[in-house]
């Protein structure tokens, strides 16, 4: 009789504790915590009216995000990730707790919290340049000045050849780059990103992750990033906020031990794998891995011997 998960054991032994940080990484986190707090989330909660009384989507979430920190939020579907980011953006109002930006409470949407949505939400009737100019024009900047600045942002995301194109002429990755440029042009204190690369194919997504890290490195902006892709969270984040569902609560806040600058080949580094293992355990609880996977109640509908696997 073979004991089931034995074969994984050696790898688990090799993997370091995900909480162990190299001196460089530890020093980085120490410096990061010295930076001023940009966004303070204090006991944030949101209830919705349901058919059978109120439903709690989010409960008692507290977190401090420091200047130029990159925070990712992951969690199983239905854990209130989108509700969370909408509360931060001011597009929804919390039923308890509060959000402070630079010490001032958030009461509604504003340009100090730029947002990038999964569905791009570019204005289809405006060219790329006019889209990026939108936030600047809302601040009352002169058109020529706004255009000059917008073109710099378009340059930064590498789309200067498409400055006069319309959104429908762009691929998904390009659209999302325009959306990022548009949000950054309004010079937000924090950039809120709601599964921005969720609709992209794997290759484009990897490119966009690299682009985003590059932008973050060069622009004075704090990033709050929601994703359901565990690797994406580890690759991008300084800290990962893991939510659990029903109600959405903080399960753990993980300081990612993978050193910076991040590269794609780090996905096989021990720190990365250790973090990945931890996230897997949190998001997909163990119960499922041991028990035999649930079978569908299907009877054979093919001829005997006509097997595909």
């Amino acid at each position: 009789m073979a004991s089931p998960p034995e074969s994984f054991a050696p790898i688990a032994e090799v993997l370091p504790d995900y909480r162990r940080q190299s001196p460089a990484v530890a020093a980085r986190f120490a410096a990061l915590h010295q930076r001023p707090v940009v966004l303070e989330i204090d006991g944030l909660g949101r209830q919705f009216a349901g058919e059978h009384g109120p439903v709690t989507a989010l409960r008692d979430i507290s977190l401090q995000i420091h200047r130029r920190e990159f925070v990712c939020v992951i969690g199983p579907s239905g854990c209130g990730k989108s509700t969370f980011i909408r509360l931060l953006a001011g597009l929804d109002t919390p039923t308890s707790g509060r959000v402070l930006l630079d010490g001032k409470p958030v009461t509604g949407p504003g340009p100090d919290r730029g947002m990038v949505f999964q569905g791009y939400t570019l204005f289809p009737w405006l060219s790329v340049t006019r889209n990026v100019m939108f936030g600047l024009e809302m601040q009352g900047r002169a058109r020529s000045e706004a255009e000059r600045e917008a073109l710099q942002w378009i340059d930064l995301v590498g789309l200067n050849k498409f400055a006069h194109a319309y959104p429908h002429q762009l691929s998904g990755g390009m659209k999302q780059r325009v959306a990022i440029a548009r949000a950054l042009a309004a010079s937000p204190r924090i950039l809120l990103m709601d599964e921005p690369f969720g609709a992209l194919d794997a290759q484009t997504r990897a490119q966009m992750q690299a682009h985003l890290l590059e932008i973050w490195r060069n622009v004075d902006v704090t990033i709050f990033f929601i994703t359901h892709d565990l690797d994406e969270a580890i690759l991008l984040a300084d800290r990962i906020l893991v939510l659990k569902a029903n109600p959405g609560e903080v399960q753990e806040i993980i300081e990612v031990p993978v050193p910076r600058p991040r590269r794609l080949d780090q996905v096989s580094s021990p720190e990365f794998l250790a973090t990945r293992r931890r996230l897997d355990d949190l998001i997909h609880p163990k119960v499922h891995t041991h028990a035999a996977p649930e079978r569908l109640p299907i009877v054979r509908l093919t001829q005997l011997g006509d097997d595909v696997e």
Binding site: A89, G90, G114, P124, S127, R130, F134, M138, A165, Q169
Partner: protein, 350 residues
């Protein structure tokens, strides 16, 4: 055959064009068949030779049974029998007669002094429609946009507008004459009533259908309510609003005919009624066809214009849009040739 009848699959451009022409040719052919093939329908007889019967004249049209009885009676008396050819009723003129009337209606002088020429009648009708429709848009579009943008304004406005919408506009005829007199003003006001109330509701619904996520995106970019309405909601729903107005312009024409008989009858409906009185049914048809042609023509022209004005909604290169782009100084003139939907991403380096 299966290619023609596949469900919800676009026709090839050739078929699209040909079927569009057929849509007109089939009714015309049916009309021609019933007009020119003597054994199809033709319930009347046109007398060619009265053969001494005093009360009929050559060219007179009478029902087939009556004519048959007359022939029988004459035959019984051993008198010469009248002859005739199968004919259709007067109210069913053949295509060529209507075709001729389309020309002659413009060239014949009005029977009564003071009556209008056809082109004058048409012009009067177009003017009535224009003012009624323009005034309804001028008030209705902004009101509808505000209803679509603000639930408070919508709730304060729409229930009452909905209530009035169910009152048929012609019912206001007598009232409008009492208020505005008997000339063109009550006619314009009836078209206004007929168009305005549905317009407010349709515009509000269209604006409400605009993508909410665009509004939210604009809010996170610092847009205030004013900008949300005029810089986001209005441009986002403009192509659909344009089509709404096109449809309502069509309904304005249906109110025209009723509006024109209110007070002093005028315009194209006066012409139609007058010609029907003289039993010039070919002229009646000609006038109706002209109304159809004007309506259809404007609608097609507006559709063509709309497709080019709102190219972002219906992606297709357009010279007209580029022209407007240059006029307003908006970028859009230059289109990157390589910006096709599936253009490859520039390769990034880590």
């Amino acid at each position: 055959m299966s290619r023609w009848l596949s469900i919800r699959k676009d026709l090839t451009p050739g078929l699209h064009r040909r079927f569009g022409v057929l849509a007109f040719l089939i009714p015309l052919a049916t009309w021609s068949l019933f007009s020119y093939v003597p054994w199809l329908w033709h319930p009347m007889v046109r007398v060619t030779d009265p053969a001494g019967v005093s009360w009929i004249k050559p060219g007179q049209i009478l029902p087939r049974e009556d004519f048959a009885k007359l022939v029988e009676k004459q035959a019984a008396l051993a008198a010469p029998t009248p002859t005739g050819t199968p004919a259709n009723p007067l109210y069913f003129p053949p295509p060529h007669a209507v075709g001729r009337a389309l020309y002659t209606a413009f060239t014949t002088e009005p029977v009564l002094k003071g009556d209008k020429w056809l082109h004058q009648a048409i012009f009067a009708s177009i003017r009535t429609i224009f003012w009624g429709f323009a005034l309804a848009c001028l008030v209705g579009v902004p009101l509808g946009v505000f209803c679509g943008a603000s639930p408070a304004i919508a709730r304060l406005t729409e229930p009452f507008v909905d209530f009035i919408r169910y009152m048929p506009a012609p019912a206001f005829g007598a009232l409008m004459v009492a208020i505005f007199g008997i000339h063109v003003a009550p006619k314009i006001s009836i078209i206004f009533i007929g168009v305005f109330f549905p317009l407010v509701l349709v515009v509000a619904t269209t604006v409400r259908r605009a993508d909410l996520s665009l509004v939210e995106a604009a809010q996170t970019l610092g847009a205030k309510p004013r900008a949300l309405v005029f810089r986001v909601l209005v441009p986002a729903s403009l192509p659909d609003l344009y089509n709404d107005l096109r449809l309502l312009l069509g309904s304005a024409w249906t109110y025209l005919i009723v509006a024109e008989v209110v007070g002093v009858s005028s315009g194209i409906s006066f012409f139609i009624n007058q010609q029907a009185k003289y039993r010039n049914f070919d002229n009646v048809y000609a006038a109706i066809v002209i109304i159809g042609a004007i309506g259809f023509g404007t609608d097609q022209a507006l559709a063509w214009l709309g497709q080019r004005l709102f190219a972002w909604k219906n992606p297709r290169p357009s010279r007209l849009r580029r022209f407007f782009g240059r006029l307003t100084g908006a970028p859009g003139a230059a289109r990157p040739a390589d910006a096709s939907r599936n253009a490859g991403e520039p390769v990034s380096t880590f």
